[in-house]
Symmetry: C2
Subunit: 211 residues, 2 copies
């Protein structure tokens, strides 16, 4: 069975001032989808890497720096694009070069997912126009200004609109990622991922205690 596992790739966009848990929550959820390889290791269902302006260290909003594995231009193919939020989105929404690169990356992905104010960045590309989406509740008013044509949903832990999935703030990205995993690879794999993470999964997208 293990030899037949289809591996999907997840590319995580990193930019200065991104919020670490926005990215690393989903990173952990995707990485925790695995079965033993019979040789002491694991077969994973998702391969993950990071993309940024250049293959270099990118400082997060919390302090630690993450390496961008590839530049936008040199990134290998991927199936899922993940865009985190963070204080860095305040600059990102006015960075036309970055927005163009993110739009180009989104066009290559089967699914584009955002966490927190990552949806404000995606909104500024125009790709969310006319579509339902959510975002961080702490920065809600500012987010709305970034996408006046977006059908923003305030009461939502996450919003699944098929090829675009958006989540609320920070931790909500973990719930969204697990739900996306359930849709793409089946519920059992998602449940096992949550269990491996010892994560108490909020499975109801309408259960948003922070709205």
């Amino acid at each position: 069975m293990a030899d037949e596992i289809q591996v999907q790739s997840v590319a995580h966009v990193v930019f200065e001032g991104f919020t670490t848990l926005d990215m690393y929550g989903p990173v952990q959820a995707f990485a925790s989808c695995r079965v033993p390889d019979g040789d002491g290791g694991w077969h994973r269902f998702f391969n993950q890497f990071t993309i940024g302006d250049s293959p270099a260290a990118v400082k997060s909003g919390e302090g630690p720096s993450t390496m961008a594995d590839y530049s936008f231009e040199d990134a290998p193919d991927f199936d899922i694009l993940l865009i985190p939020g963070g204080f860095g989105t305040r600059a990102a929404v006015s960075n036309d070069a970055l927005l163009a690169k993110i739009a180009a990356m989104s066009a290559k992905a089967d699914v584009t997912a955002t966490v927190c104010t990552g949806s404000a960045v995606l909104a500024r590309t125009g790709l969310l126009d006319g579509r339902p989406a959510t975002s961080n509740k702490v920065a809600w008013d500012w987010v709305l200004e970034q996408g006046p044509k977006v059908d923003w949903k305030r009461q939502a832990r996450w919003v699944d609109d098929g090829d675009i999935v958006t989540s609320s703030g920070v931790s909500a990205g973990i719930d969204m990622a697990l739900d996306l995993i359930a849709r793409l690879r089946g519920e059992e794999i998602a449940v096992n991922s949550a269990k491996f993470m010892e994560y108490i999964w909020n499975r109801d997208p309408a259960n948003d205690p922070f709205a």
Copy 2:
């Protein structure tokens, strides 16, 4: 008031194959303790950095690499030491040079906190002997072998033993970090941190659905 905020430092140990959410969950909890500085930014209660064998990129168990800001020898002073777990702990528990460095770092810290199999690494330094501690439930039997003199507690989301605090697997580190914040800086700051993270905090250390 902001000028009077005491800033505590958190040093995160990174080694090859560490589990990212073990570290980045607490990173986010500590970073989310903040008050507006009146100038569009924030005063933070905790400063955070990473330490490793050398100031270079360290590959995690999930794929993405985190920069070690400092080597063990060159790290500035800190108040809290955090040791993550991960598949890399299988090698770390037999790496005497690394264990000696971690023991030296722990001696400098007011509080040493571990997440997941990070407690197995700390156990191998001898610092957990005779003390209550917990760890990841998936790798429980292996963890016990690393510290036969430790008073292991299976049913525990985390165990607070004063200057040493240990948590269960992966996501449990977030609950532990918030509880440690409440102890060190007061409940209001911890509650606000959880709210900023939009995190549904499991505040009861005995509530361990994965035991």
